[in-house]
């Protein structure tokens, strides 16, 4: 019997905004239902409606039954007995989800005492037990800490502890790992699985990450524009998607197990919930659209033999019949090859060179009593170079120093230690005029396309700003040319940034960066703020620009799948140092540093079969503070190799001696900073990789 049964749920906000338009699903005991969708698809609103936590001005209709009892329209007095007891919820951002002024332990104990008659001290003890269960070290001490004193991963663990405090029947997880780094995400997903085993609860897992769903879910519901468009068992849906949106989504994500060639982009943007197109909401973006698609919205109807599968598309049988995939249906752009790369790397000019670069910050403490208490070793001696026409990716988790590196390069100022050489000019030895001239050749594209554009300037002025600053004359013509180059219409030059979608704004940012015809483009997480279906188009654009304009990229990212797709070489950073560096093929297929290995194994693959059979290398604990890095090898405190495979004498070396990047035997361009580097395969190469 199902725990939760949702039927025809609709949610309308004032102003006729239909956020959810008829969602139905069931969750069984012990089952994980994944709900996938992009931002604005209504996936979070659905679950808040079930919990009765929407603002009072939202109009909810349909039905949501918990163990046969109707939840919608239930009295708040009754609902409080269900919330936190029968249904618990885990939210995306664990920092804002905890009340800042109470300790974690108190907040969990409060959750216990709401639903169980228990003395205060007993509840506090129970809170410590729960924290222990989700793997928080020293739970008795940590229970007395405030939310801001926890790291992101630890907070999400505490959130899970609070959610399972009363043994719920159903757990709703709303993007539970989106705010976390991959290795921490892997830990938290593991904790969620443990929590499910402990409680036997059903889980509704809401996320935009197809990889996470592939590894967690039993069944999947795909949402688009407030409605489910496809539903089915995870394997069936991933390997045989029958709705063009799902097909496009699965084909558009870059994969860490490697696939060459351009990505499959879905053109256009999701419709606004206040002005939906007639008929199928996906029709305007669908390559298989026929006139009939605009007549009426196709209902979600059972599909195929065996049941459990439903699709909302009038051409689904045709897709099934012809065995179409995303790559067949969606037009794949042709990206011209780069001219420069024909020249061997050693003979190409060096665009950027970092030599043992150091950047430290003073560590300040206290808001009332501000004072220096130490030093943050943000970047502590890194060396790499970028050749003409090449993309070097700098990857690592938050706090590894990649953003600091990038800022140091962009400032074109003398570093605290080491050298930064841009286009043959040492940043410590140039004067003001030369620095200004050099700025023309080095430009940057930022992560957040909203924050990167001044909201009060029309696009025309935004793109013209660098041109005017450097005294270019033909500003107007050049702006039009640039807009066309990045795939936007020049007529849009008068508009303001807020009138563009995220992907379009990122294109504007790229156009601005290209305005002065730079030689080196620094890309700071250029696609991580974009929805999956938009990402592919921007990645393709970046690849095309690089090839046609002969640019070099320094690409900073945490998404290793995007990096694999776009980069030629990759440098993995950990706590201000480079752990491993080399060509993408070498590093991804034969990682030698234990950190790289863990990082690669933590990435969820959008492939249910592979996710199930994969062995993960889980890292212990959090990143140590860059103000107080461990002696010797910085990774040793979390290193699985250090913990399990080395003997006492070998370990001593890791403690005493800091490893430097050494070229690996037998490799042309591959080095690792580990005393005991050893290449292993972490990701099984995909079929098409094996064919080569």
């Amino acid at each position: 019997m199902s725990i939760l049964e949702v039927k025809d749920l609709t949610v309308t906000f004032p102003g006729g905004v239909q956020a959810v338009r008829g969602v139905s699903y069931e969750v069984e005991r012990g089952e994980v239902l994944g709900i996938v969708g992009e931002s604005g698809s209504g996936k979070s609103v659905t679950s808040l409606a079930v919990m009765g936590l929407l603002p009072p001005n939202a109009v909810v209709s349909g039905s949501a039954k918990l163990h046969g009892r109707e939840l919608l329209g239930m009295d708040d007095d009754e609902l409080v007995k269900i919330r936190g007891k029968a249904i618990s919820m885990i939210f995306q951002d664990p920092l804002s989800a905890f009340t800042p002024v109470y300790t974690i332990g108190d907040q969990i104990a409060e959750a216990v005492r709401i639903h169980q008659r228990m003395a205060k001290d007993k509840a506090a003890k129970r809170a410590v037990e729960l924290l222990d269960l989700v793997g928080i070290p020293h739970p008795d001490v940590r229970a007395k800490a405030f939310p801001h004193e926890f790291s992101g991963g630890m907070r999400q663990r505490a959130m899970i502890a609070m959610a399972i405090a009363n043994d719920p029947d159903l757990l709703i997880c709303d993007e539970p790992t989106t705010a976390l780094d991959v290795t921490i995400q892997a830990q938290v997903l593991e904790v969620l699985k443990t929590a499910q085993q402990e409680t036997g609860a059903g889980i509704v897992m809401i996320t935009h990450d197809l990889g996470v769903i592939a590894g967690m879910a039993d069944r999947v519901l795909v949402m688009y524009a407030g409605r489910p468009v496809e539903q089915g068992p995870v394997d069936d849906l991933y390997y045989r998607p029958r709705m063009p949106y799902t097909m496009g989504l699965l084909a558009s994500i870059p994969r860490v197990d490697g696939e060459e060639g351009p990505l499959v982009p879905i053109e256009g943007n999701p419709p606004s919930p206040s002005s939906l197109p007639p008929g199928c909401p996906f029709a305007p973006r669908c390559p298989m659209r026929v006139d009939m698609c605009d007549d009426e919205e196709p209902p979600l109807i059972p599909f195929g033999p065996g049941g459990g599968r439903s699709v909302a598309c009038i051409r689904s049988h045709e897709i099934e019949h012809k065995g179409l995939t995303g790559a067949d249906v969606f037009p794949v752009p042709v990206i011209p090859p780069s001219e420069v790369v024909r020249v061997p790397r050693a003979e190409r000019a060096t665009v950027l060179e970092l030599d043992d670069m150091i950047r430290h910050y003073p560590l300040m403490k206290g808001a009332v009593m501000k004072r220096r208490v130490g030093t943050v070793y943000a970047v502590d001696g890194i060396t790499f170079d970028i050749a003409e026409g090449e993309t070097l990716a700098l990857v690592g988790e938050s706090g590894c120093g990649k953003t600091t590196t990038l800022q140091q390069i962009m400032q074109l100022a003398p570093p605290e230690g080491g050298r930064v050489v841009v286009l043959g000019k040492d940043s410590a030895k140039i004067d003001k005029a030369m620095r200004r001239a050099l700025r023309r050749d080095v430009q940057i594209v930022f992560q957040d396309p909203m924050a990167a554009l001044d909201p009060r300037m029309p696009v025309q002025d935004i793109i013209a700003e660098p041109l005017r600053a450097h005294g270019r004359k033909d500003v107007r013509a050049r702006v039009a040319e640039l807009l066309e180059l990045v795939g936007l219409s020049p007529e849009h030059a008068e508009r303001y940034p807020s009138q563009f979608s995220g992907g379009q704004r990122q294109r504007i940012g790229i156009a601005r960066a290209l305005a002065l015809e730079p030689k080196l483009l620094v890309l700071d997480e250029p696609v991580s703020a974009l929805d999956v279906s938009i990402q592919a188009g921007v990645i393709n654009l970046l690849e095309e620009l690089k090839n046609t304009l002969g640019l070099s990229y320094l690409f900073v990212a945490h998404d290793l799948a995007v990096v694999r797709h776009l980069a030629d070489r990759v440098a993995v950073m950990y706590l201000g140092k480079i752990a491993e560096i080399g060509t993408v093929e070498e590093v991804y297929d034969h990682p030698a540093h234990p950190y790289t290995q863990a990082l690669l194994s933590a990435i969820p693959l959008p492939d249910p079969e592979m996710e199930r059979t994969r062995k993960r290398i889980l890292l212990e604990g959090d990143l140590p503070s860059p103000a107080n890095p461990p002696t010797g090898c910085r990774f040793r405190t979390r290193c699985p190799k250090f913990a399990t495979q080395l003997d006492e004498a070998q370990r001593q070396r890791c403690v005493d001696e800091e490893p430097s990047v050494a070229r690996l035997a037998g490799a042309v361009d591959h080095g690792a900073a580990c005393h005991y580097a050893e290449e292993i395969e972490v990701i099984t190469a995909s079929d098409d990789q094996e064919e080569k």
Partner: protein
């Protein structure tokens, strides 16, 4: 931490010194206590006036810098000099501080407590009749300057008392010196009613608006949703989680108001004829009383800096995010 506190203390001492010195210079070079002696009948001989003024360090024939030096030496030894007619500024200050304290303590506390309460209710009942009523009233009150409000209250009380035929509510002075014991205490309380209302109405309106905004900011935040998701009733989630967090900014305003309480009630003191610190400033300026003016300035500067420090401390106490280990 000790070093930090010392540095902060040093900066504050300098600020107070500069502020008080500037005030002294300005007052000493523009005001003329001599005028109070010159216009008398029968006329006082100039030599006598000079001698008297010299005694009080108020003689405008002495160079300003020299007078300043004398004054500053005195202040460093804890002596603020003499008033224009030879009284001790220290005594006067001591007396007036307590007058102000008696007058303002209740009003300040009441204003904060009632204001925060109303603001919280207003936020919880957003867009309902209660919210609109509180909102409109606080708006109107905030638009009425305190001297208009105090005058209005005085008129209303005067008419009320006249209508009743006896004095129900006192509207001027601090107490009736003819009464004693318990009666005098009650009489003192009676005298407090009007000034307290006129003082606290404004702060009630002020805090209710601040608290409402803070609450609304907090109400939409994730942690309130979490509190409800774990099964707390709306009311409990709002008071225990939202109000407690939203109290922090209001409390800093309160700390500041508390610190500057002594000199903040010039109008109320003047209109209801209480001889506190606030009224002293106006009286001193009108009496061309240089040393008193400088003393009030000195005291005000210390209050402002103390208030800033107090609000920092209070934030640290209420908000674990800025607490110092």
């Amino acid at each position: 931490m000790g070093k930090y506190l010392l540095r902060r203390l040093a900066i504050n001492v300098i600020l107070v010194a500069v502020a008080a010195s500037l005030a002294y210079m300005l007052a000493a070079s523009t005001m003329s206590p001599r005028a109070a002696y010159q216009g008398r009948q029968p006329p006082i001989p100039e030599a006598t006036i000079d001698a008297t003024l010299d005694m009080y360090n108020l003689n405008d024939k002495v160079p300003v810098l020299q007078r300043y030096a004398t004054w500053a030496t005195g202040v460093l030894q804890g002596d603020f000099g003499k008033t224009w007619n030879g009284g001790s500024v220290n005594d006067e200050m001591g007396r007036r501080i307590f007058v102000s304290l008696r007058l303002l303590l209740i009003g300040t506390l009441l204003g904060f407590a009632v204001g925060v309460g109303l603001g919280a209710i207003s936020a919880v009942k957003q867009y309902k009749a209660t919210d609109r009523l509180i909102g409109v009233s606080s708006f109107v009150v905030l638009a009425i300057p305190v001297f208009v409000l105090a005058t209005l209250l005085a008129i209303a009380t005067y008419n009320l008392n006249r209508g009743l035929g006896f004095t129900l509510i006192e509207y001027t002075g601090e107490y009736n010196p003819q009464l004693s014991g318990w009666d005098q205490f009650l009489n003192r309380l009676n005298h407090l009613i009007l000034p307290t209302i006129s003082l606290s109405l404004g702060s009630i309106a002020f805090y209710s608006r601040i608290q409402r905004n803070m609450m609304l900011d907090v109400l939409g935040q994730d942690f309130v949703r979490t509190a409800r998701a774990k099964g707390l009733r709306r009311r409990t989630a709002l008071t225990k989680h939202a109000l407690r967090t939203a109290l922090i900014p209001s409390a800093t305003y309160f700390a500041f108001a508390f610190g500057t309480m002594f000199t903040g009630a010039t109008f109320t003191e003047k209109i209801f004829a209480w001889h506190g610190m606030g009224a002293w400033l106006v009286d001193a300026i009108n009496a061309q009383d240089v040393n008193s003016v400088a003393a009030v300035t000195f005291f005000t500067a210390i209050c402002v800096l103390f208030a800033a420090f107090l609000s920092d401390l209070l934030v640290a106490a209420l908000d674990p995010r800025v607490r110092v280990n």
